[in-house]
């Protein structure tokens, strides 16, 4: 059994479990074996002094839901070995929040153009600093801070 750091409850009555980030892969594997077969989403929250990774689980047999959270400073183990759907969710979390998933097969930006500077959903992302995207001949994107080099 993986130790649980603390427990809480969300306003809609779903249990929230905090786990140490080293144990996250093992803990989610246990939960998956217990019947939580659905990984609905992976997301992150930027609390300025630390980041939090949030996993929403669902058991399609009992209909039970569970939220698992882990505090991190920017790195955590990938759960792509447990759920195939975790692949895109982790890429998105990396793209928008800059949380690195160790062991992810293809951790690249998914929504923004490759080469974008910064992670926009971080609270300290500079919204006034515009970036401009253009297209190379082979179809890949280029990103620059110069207005004349893109759109």
């Amino acid at each position: 059994m993986i130790p649980v750091e603390s427990e809480a409850s969300s306003k809609d009555g779903v249990k929230i479990i905090y786990v140490a980030k080293e144990n996250i892969l093992q803990f989610l594997k246990e939960k998956k074996d217990e019947g939580f077969d659905y990984l609905l989403m992976i997301t992150g929250i930027d609390y300025k002094d630390h980041l939090e990774v949030v996993y929403h689980l669902l058991s399609s047999k009992s209909g039970e839901r569970l939220v698992v959270k882990a505090k991190t400073d920017g790195e955590i183990d990938s759960v792509t070995s447990l759920w195939k759907g975790a692949n895109w969710h982790e890429r998105e979390t990396w793209d928008l929040l800059g949380i690195k998933f160790n062991g992810h097969p293809n951790l690249k930006r998914i929504l923004l153009a490759e080469g974008w500077v910064g992670h926009p959903l971080r609270k300290d992302y500079p919204m006034d600093k515009k970036q401009y995207v253009n297209l190379k001949e082979d179809g890949d994107d280029t990103v620059s801070f110069e207005k004349k080099e893109g759109y």
């Binding site: 923004l112 153009a113 926009p120 919204m127 995207v133 297209l135 994107d141 759109y151």
Partner: protein, 152 residues
């Protein structure tokens, strides 16, 4: 050339013909694309106004309807599609997003207006504009083509 009465009349006839046989490009970006499809659908049927079939290739079409938010990742692709269209070519900017960024203008990845990417002939307001607005824009564009006042 314009002194020659025969050529000017021919030119006028050509412009009249161009306006009445616009071939729009099947190019949906976001929400407005659904209203564009409604305009093409049974109730509004904008084929009545001489803009008949939506073409699937930019090389077959001469009217680009930018229907939706232009993101930074998409903008260079829109430019490339525009460049691939054959002359004469016209652009309708449909809705608030394509015209000026709309509700997303404060965001980090949205171009504030498609006119920074391609030259626009007619802008339509609304979020999304109703199909009637699109038909009005089409009529407006036809008038402008007949007057020779288009950018391309």
């Amino acid at each position: 050339m314009s002194d020659n009465i025969l050529v000017t009349t021919l030119d006028e006839a050509l412009r009249w013909g161009t306006g009445k046989s616009l071939w729009p490009f099947t190019f949906g970006l976001a929400c407005c694309a659904l209203e564009m499809m409604s305009a093409m659908g049974s109730d509004y049927d904008w084929a009545r106004f001489g803009s008949d079939v939506f073409r699937d290739s930019p090389r077959h079409s001469d009217l680009m309807i930018v229907s939706g938010t232009v993101t930074k990742k998409m903008a260079p692709r829109i430019r490339r599609l525009y460049d691939q269209m054959a002359f004469p070519k016209f652009v309708i900017s449909m809705g608030a997003c394509a015209s000026a960024g709309g509700p997303y203008v404060r965001g980090y990845s949205v171009v504030d207006g498609v006119d920074q990417v391609v030259p626009v002939d007619v802008y339509i307001y609304g979020c999304p504009p109703r199909p009637e607005s699109l038909i009005k824009a089409l009529k407006l564009l036809q008038d402008r083509i007949a007057d020779g006042k288009v950018k391309h």
